[in-house]
């Protein structure tokens, strides 16, 4: 395994191997916890010294949270008690612009994730969020020269209120469901990125999120605006050490792709096995723009995530790839949504799930073609691979087609790996784990060729590690 590959894997290392550095202490952290109510929301807003309009938005979202019912199809979260966790945890650290300035114990975490190397070699910019706040922002000259704005979300609220107001919570309104409302009432952290007209960023920017302790919530909000004819690739990574009890993640990503722009948003989620993960991800695509999502769900105990694109503009395009691995007693409820409004729009959903050792994957998808979205073509395909009898996979696709000229197709396939397959591969000298990892990689191949090379190689290695435990991480 090459050094580069090792490095990349470190960033997304299977969580059980991730540990907090010796001497780590959160004793000086400022914490807001307890029942989610008006006074708590006001306290968070005060701690952030926010403008009035943001507090108002939070409070309206809180009302919706109280009003909205808990979705009845959400399972596996019995342990979750929203009113017992810490909703805001501010580490004892300001925003560093150079990683030498991050307090030592947090810097060690940053280094153990191999982020400095990634930053130097492959990224145009990076933000690192620790608990509820961004503690580090590294931006290469190139971004400044091209007038790209990349800031912690809070700072954008202060410095660019007009832009933020125009988009924040407009792409994914809080009223849509209880967890979107909760997120909006409590949000903290996340990144704001604005790419000016015609600017193409050759290297990706990355945001990395880390949750250090049990019984806390992380509610980061990422807003990405690609102005006309611009181009950006965004990588999102997340990780956490294994704790004794659960933690809760309820983030949001909003993307606005203006005319002719291209946005690629890649997530590799590798939370530790006791994180309950909700995510709210949506993009709006204007005329001739392209939005691509890749959601790699590897970690966490329970995940609910459905990247969505609204194809508002004519000739807008989107592709949504989801790769979900439930290895062990895990549940991944993932999927995608495409809502087409513009003419000649095109969408493609490719979902791949792998269930092993008692894991469950659920695909939940929606394709809606509105009247007037003429000649729009959307295809979706769901492939499930089930590695043993204890594991399962379920598929719930849903189509709503109001436009006669549209064409929508859906296919679903389920494959299993039987003892006969394994014996065959073993009779060629491979161990059971090696046989499984080859079959899983083969199953993912058509997705792997379609995503950025670096991410493909990371995902490839994560799969090999996950299923064969060979070739270690050194």
């Amino acid at each position: 395994m090459t050094e580069e590959k090792r490095e990349a894997i470190r960033r997304f290392l299977p969580s059980p191997e991730l540990k907090l550095p010796e001497g780590f202490s959160s004793s000086g952290y400022f914490i807001i916890k307890g029942k989610v109510e008006k006074s708590l929301v006001e306290e968070i807003s005060r701690a952030k010294n926010e403008p009035e309009w943001m507090l108002k938005l939070r409070l309206k979202a809180l009302e919706a949270y109280e009003r909205l019912r808990f979705p009845n199809w959400v399972v596996g979260v019995e342990e979750l008690n929203i009113d017992e966790i810490a909703h805001y945890v501010r580490p004892d650290a300001g925003l560093a612009r150079s990683w030498e300035d991050i307090p030592e114990d947090i810097r060690k975490v940053y280094e153990s994730l191999r982020l400095p190397e990634a930053e130097k070699r492959a990224l145009a910019g990076i933000s690192f969020q620790f608990e509820s706040e961004t503690v580090y922002l590294g931006i290469k000259k190139l971004l400044e020269e091209k007038k790209v704005i990349m800031l912690p979300m809070e700072e954008a609220v202060q410095r660019y209120p007009d832009i933020v107001k125009q988009y924040f919570n407009k792409i994914f309104p809080y009223a849509e469901h209880k967890f979107a409302a909760l997120h909006t009432a409590l949000w903290s952290g996340g990144v704001f990125v604005y790419v000016p007209k015609g600017v193409r960023i050759p290297q990706p920017v990355e945001a990395f999120f880390f949750m250090a302790s049990a019984l806390e919530g992380q509610f980061e909000h990422t807003l990405l605006i690609a102005d006309e004819n611009s181009e950006i690739q965004f990588i999102e990574g997340c990780s956490a050490p294994m704790y004794k009890r659960y933690s809760f993640h309820d983030g949001m990503v909003e993307i606005y792709a203006h005319r002719g722009s291209k946005v690629k948003f890649v997530t590799l989620q590798n939370w530790s096995g006791n994180v309950i993960n909700f995510n709210n991800k949506r993009a709006i695509a204007e005329d001739n723009s392209t939005v691509q999502w890749l959601e790699g769900s590897v970690g966490s105990r329970v995940s609910y995530v459905y990247p969505s694109t609204i194809l508002r503009g004519d000739n807008s395009r989107t592709s949504i790839y989801t790769v979900s691995i439930s290895n062990g007693k895990k549940l991944k409820d993932t999927g995608a949504k495409i809502i087409a409004l513009g003419k000649n729009a095109a969408g493609k959903i490719v979902s791949k799930s792998i269930s092993a050792n008692g894991g469950t994957n659920i695909y939940r998808g929606l394709v809606r073609i509105s009247k007037g979205s003429m000649n729009t073509v959307v295809s979706s395909s769901c492939d499930s691979l089930i590695l043993d009898r204890e594991s399962k996979s379920l598929t719930y696709p849903h189509n709503q087609i109001e436009e006669e000229t549209a064409s929508v197709s859906h296919e679903a396939k389920t494959g299993t790996i039987s003892e006969e397959h394994l014996f065959y591969m073993r009779s060629r000298g491979l161990t059971e784990g090696e046989a499984k990892s080859l079959m899983v990689l083969g199953f993912l191949e058509d997705v792997l060729v379609d995503i950025p090379f670096e991410m493909a190689s990371v995902l490839n290695s994560v799969v090999q590690l996950e299923f064969s435990k060979i070739g270690g991480t050194g």
């Binding site: 003892e419 006969e420 009779s427 491979l430 090696e434």
Partner: protein, 257 residues
């Protein structure tokens, strides 16, 4: 040193199939194991290769004097054994070249990176192994056995054997479902393996392969027991009068219970 099955009693699918089988495959020989359908031929091949579908109740398997009875199938491969399947399963998503490279690396003890190409000549080796069995290069990039005809599967098994370079090859009915050309290819490859000093355990129902490759010895399996051993005269008898007559002459029962 030989490959030995010693006093093997084994069950498959909850039924007793092998009732005490002992046989020895000596270095550089072709040993044919013949028998009617249901006599336990495939179970014998599986138990030697270590298939989890067969449970060994009694007896041992030895490779070059080492007891491998408790070893998993892949460990037996590393010691020079290889089973060619009668009907190999379709392995979706895995290209034939991928499987060949992975097994090539394993056989040579290069397991740290399964798919790494350390020896660039591996590609010419793969191509020539395919061409020997009469398959074109494009099969390297097809998924293993997916959409292959019966004959193509057999040929692919043989090509893999040439890549893996085993010392002991067990061929489970390599001749079933083959046309004349296919039979000739299988026969030629067995002869070639013998010339290279490999040992072949040739499991077959018919004698038709023997016109291209004459086995050194023949054992006959009926109802889970070896009932006869000898040379080509046994094949001639089977050809002439069939298994039931042979069973009658030997005073044993044919299978199909």
């Amino acid at each position: 040193m030989p490959l030995v099955a010693e006093g093997v009693e084994a069950e498959a699918g909850g039924k007793v199939i092998l009732k005490g089988v002992t046989l020895e495959l000596r270095e550089g020989e072709v040993l044919a194991v013949m028998g009617p359908n249901g006599s336990g031929k495939t179970t014998l091949a599986n138990v030697i290769a270590g298939s989890p579908s067969v449970s060994l109740k009694k007896g041992r398997i030895l490779i070059d004097g080492e007891d491998v009875t408790e070893l998993p199938p892949e460990e037996r491969v590393l010691r020079g054994l290889m089973l060619l399947f009668q009907s190999p399963p379709e392995i979706k998503g895995v290209k034939l070249s991928t499987l060949m490279i992975a097994s090539f690396n394993k056989r040579r003890g290069l397991s740290s990176d399964l798919l790494k190409v350390t020896d660039p000549s591996i590609f010419s080796k793969m191509r020539s192994s395919l061409s020997v069995v009469g398959l074109s290069d494009e099969y390297l990039y097809r998924e293993v056995n997916v959409g292959f005809s019966g004959g193509e599967k057999k040929r692919s098994e043989l090509a893999q054997a040439m890549m893996l370079d085993p010392k002991y090859v067990i061929m489970d009915e390599p001749d079933s479902g083959l046309d004349i050309d296919g039979l000739r290819v299988v026969g030629e490859i067995i002869s070639r393996m013998k010339r290279e000093g490999k040992s072949v355990l040739l499991i077959t129902h018919y004698t038709r392969l023997f016109s291209t490759v004459k086995p050194d010895r023949i054992s006959v399996l009926m109802r889970g027991r070896i009932v006869a051993q000898g040379g080509m005269e046994i094949a001639e008898e089977i050809d002439r009068s069939g298994y039931s007559k042979l069973a009658e002459r030997l005073g044993v029962e044919l299978n199909n219970d």
